[in-house]
Amino acid sequence: MSGREKILNRAVKEIKDGMCVNLGIGMPTLIADRIPEEFDVMLQSENGLLGIGSYPKESEVDADLINAGKETVTAKRNASYFDSAESFSMIRGGHIDLAILGGMEVSETGDLANWMIPGKMVKGMGGAMDLVQGAKRIVVIMDHRNKYGESKVKKSCELPLTGEGVVHVLITDMAVFEFTEKGMELVELQEGVTLEELKEATAASFIVRESVK
């Protein structure tokens, strides 16, 4: 199984029946297809749709119906449309149960950086800063290391932050961490990864849950 598969398979387990969930653009969007069919889950799109359906058939394509990644989509049963201010009232007001976002760096105190690399073209934060402050639970998914083999799980983030102390769960291709008052805690190792390998690959300090030892 590829690292990405491991991340996605683990991330979908964060979604429970009955939840309203926002999936970030990019890798998180791929989680949608893995949600069990029997689950009644409403996916929120911050441009004004609660209840994202599947991609449309060619004959169903509607330019007035897109997701936050600007892809054409459909609306599922029980869906609703609303304006942008309402959309972020929903997010900021704590009515979205879960947001799953991509990350560039996560620190051991649960800081997230995922919107900007200084020196490169700035694209903007979109709705990410609102989501990390507003959604009830924030799950970040990302590769554990960058393409140079350096840890993206840091003591403190070097890139500009999206939010401070906002991450609840971090899922990488090597492990799953939870952030609690005790600090950053390793709760699962991905298949085939040893604790020694993980420590070697991680710049952040973390405690290890009893069940993992």
Partner: protein, 232 residues
């Protein structure tokens, strides 16, 4: 006095160099395409534009960029536009990046007569720099200002002669919020219906916010990312 206009040129005469304009749309979805093209043709310069995005190189607000009509852009995400990148890096274009929810709420607040509000969005980030911080119930918030623009450019699906508006699907996005935040709000619609034809219960934006309504013909409605599944 009728709000219905049959040409955009006359009403755009009011838009002078240096004006601020709040523009509806998300990506290319629900953008006021006729108003943007008419303003491009008019050539008004030194504009401050409030909009979630800035179009693509050859469509939407990208047309005004190409024509170097925008001095300052206030947006949440501008990643789809090479002209933008060039003008930003050369220093020609001033940019204020605002979190999407904060931008929506700033426009809502401005339109609702609220000069500022506190939000947790952006606390601990670059967005919070220089802003008043205040604690409520043990949590830190920053002060953000409401936005009132000289003009609002809105795209709706249907309007009646009073300017009551109905939007369609996710083309609604920033449009109703922007409509409240303009000193003069100009709306273009796909279909102008007669007085009394809209059920008061179905109206998304009451006509009180709207000064001018224009019926556009043949909307292009470009799609940024066509994604489909196989026909069963």
């Amino acid at each position: 006095m009728s709000k219905i206009i049959t040409s955009l040129d006359e009403v755009l005469e009011q838009v002078q160099d240096g004006a601020s304009i709040a523009v509806g749309g998300f990506g290319l979805c629900g953008i006021p395409e006729k108003l943007i093209i008419a303003l491009q043709e008019k050539g008004t310069k030194e504009l401050t534009v409030y909009s979630n995005n800035c179009g693509v190189d050859d469509w939407g607000l990208g047309l005004l960029l190409q024509n170097k009509q925008i001095k300052k852009m206030v947006a949440s995400y501008v990643g789809e536009n090479k002209t933008f990148e060039k003008q930003f890096l050369s220093g020609e274009l001033e940019v204020e990046l605002v979190p999407q929810g904060t931008l929506a709420e700033r426009l809502r607040a401005g339109g609702a007569g609220i000069p500022g509000f506190y939000t947790a969005t952006g606390v601990g980030t670059e967005v919070a720099k220089g802003k008043e911080h205040k604690e409520f119930d043990g949590k830190t918030y920053i002060l953000e200002r409401g936005i009132v623009a000289d003009f609002a450019f809105v795209k709706a699906w249907k309007a009646d002669p009073f300017g009551n508006l109905v939007f369609r699907k996710t083309a609604r996005n920033f449009n109703p919020t922007v409509a409240t935040a303009g000193k003069i709000t100009i709306v273009e619609v796909e279909e102008l219906v007669g007085a009394g034809e809209l059920d008061p219960d179905e109206i998304h934006t009451p006509g009180v916010y709207v000064q001018h309504v224009y019926e556009g013909k043949t909307y292009e409605k470009r799609i940024e990312r066509l994604t489909t599944r196989k026909e069963a």
